[in-house]
Symmetry: C2
């Protein structure tokens, strides 16, 4: 089986590539070739018997999607997007990359069947940003699409296109609305959601972290490991039970900031939690207070999607995957 990851230079894309290269299969099907695509050259640092092809390409440029799809991959992970704040700051670029790029990919797949039948599985990463306030405490599976950002609008449109192309038999698509990834590895960043990872990640290595919001604030999380697991699970299951509704809210952990900190204390003690400094930031609070607090995710659970059961598990996953399994 040939697999392609578009957006392979991102955090999830890299982890997904490493996992496929290490397993040399997805589910029961072995992977013969993995094509890694991104606008910057994707790099892979794992030795593997799987043939690796790295391609630098921008889906939104003329002919790029067609050239990529000419190799007729069996499974395509489409993770490429510019992030929420960039899509809001540069209106045209956001629509170009996040809408036109996705549509070009779907069109290239549709047109590829002009020569001989072709219907790949397409796993698309969507976002909680397709939802907008007012939100219930727990969002049901069939909640209304009402994005409050360009990014959320572009992802919602991508979902609708993916469902329509699937309904018409041009591809076999699934859109996964990933929870906020926590603990995100790497350095602190300027994303409004950055503190959700920072308040765990930095104290675990003895560094200070800033908490800009009240401890009551609740949000929806899964580990990078769960996100990769969900992408791979989506690539293995029969999607027919989804019918024409190809978008799924994924399971996750609903936790308040206070519960995150309590979990950190249970695992790493007050030595860690004492490193969290409360510095209220009304701008960040305004953004994140409109975000979802929990999902039922029944459809996804019924299809076998799983995430961590608690914030403790999420922190343990971070320690295992990023810190070599132990705390200093």
């Amino acid at each position: 089986m040939q697999v392609m990851i578009i957006g392979a230079a991102g955090m999830i894309g890299k982890k997904l590539a490493r996992k496929i290269l290490s397993d040399r299969s997805i589910g029961t099907r072995s992977v013969s070739r993995l094509t890694l695509v991104d606008i910057v050259a994707p790099q892979v640092d794992t030795f593997s018997e799987v043939e690796q092809v790295c391609v630098t390409a921008d889906l939104s440029t003329d002919g790029a999607a067609k050239r990529l799809i000419a190799s007729r991959p069996d499974v395509i992970f489409h993770l490429a997007a510019i992030v929420s704040s960039d899509a809001e700051a540069d209106f045209e670029k956001g629509y170009l990359i996040n809408l036109d790029g996705t549509r070009s990919l779907l069109e290239a797949i549709r047109l590829q069947s002009d020569t001989e039948p072709y219907c790949p599985k397409v796993v698309f990463t969507s976002s909680l940003a397709v939802f907008g306030v007012p939100l219930p405490d727990e969002i049901p599976d069939d909640f209304v699409l009402a994005p409050l950002s360009c990014y959320g609008t572009q992802k919602a449109i991508g979902e609708l296109l993916l469902s329509d192309y699937s309904r018409r038999g041009f591809l076999d698509g699934i859109a996964l609305r990933l929870p906020t990834i926590c603990v995100r590895p790497g350095k602190p960043n300027k994303a409004a959601s950055g503190f959700y990872s920072s308040i765990i990640r930095e104290p675990l290595i003895g560094q200070e972290a800033i908490l800009p919001v009240p401890r009551e604030l609740r949000h929806w999380f899964a580990s990078p490991r769960s996100a990769v697991g969900a992408l791979l699970h989506a690539a293995t299951i029969d999607l027919a039970p989804l019918g024409a509704r190809r978008s799924l809210n994924l399971p996750g952990v609903s936790a308040s900031v206070g519960e995150q900190i309590e979990a950190l204390r249970r695992i790493a003690g007050t030595r860690a939690t004492d490193l969290i400094k409360e510095v209220p930031d009304p701008a960040i609070l305004r953004i994140v207070s409109s975000w979802p607090r929990a999902f039922s995710a029944e459809r996804a659970k019924n299809l076998g999607f799983r995430a961590e059961e608690s914030m403790d598990e999420i922190i343990q996953a971070h320690i295992a995957d990023e810190l070599g399994g132990t705390l200093n």
Copy 2:
């Protein structure tokens, strides 16, 4: 005030134009110029003091939207679309006209403010086809978008774009999900929904009509007069209360086919209803049985949108507007 109707050669477009030309105003604002746009030359048969400009243009062709918007209309009614069956039969044409055409219009409006501020009101006709089974008996205002046709997908995407462009202040948009228009004037057509009008319209003028579905089948209706009224009402009201959710389910009449026929009998007697011949058509039944049966339409009602209260009123509107007010 300058007004533009895109899709002015269609049934609703023509009626809307006539009403504006006859009233010479929309709400309290007088109309100085009415621009009628369609892919075939729109015609207007009403004498009016309003300046009339007729333009033959296809929004999906390069530069067409920009040329139209250069006149900076204050209110734009965007009714242009290819119909559901055509959008399904010709996938590329459907996306070109119904998605790219709409997006070109929104982009032309956005870019028009490069020279000086411009934020027109845009009234977009969306469709019940944005919803798909399973449907509740009464669809609430914030029901999930899950179209089961290319047309429904394209309309849902148009709604999302309109909301995002409104949120960003590029225009002041509203999308109206019109009920099925009944009684549609003119000749019988091949649309799956055609019989809903035929079984009223033909018997009222002494002609036979075919009923291809069981009398229990229920659907959601409004007269052409109500549809035009809703478009004009949308152009007059303050849209700020809609926030970022710019799409509205409009009020209508929920009636079974049996109730339609009973209303016809009350108004025109068994002489009319005896002209309805039951000829079951499983293909038509399969299509229309997945359509909505009723809507709560609370948001629209709260904003002052009104439709008929009964099928009797809908039939009386047809007799008044199309048959000179009396039955022979």
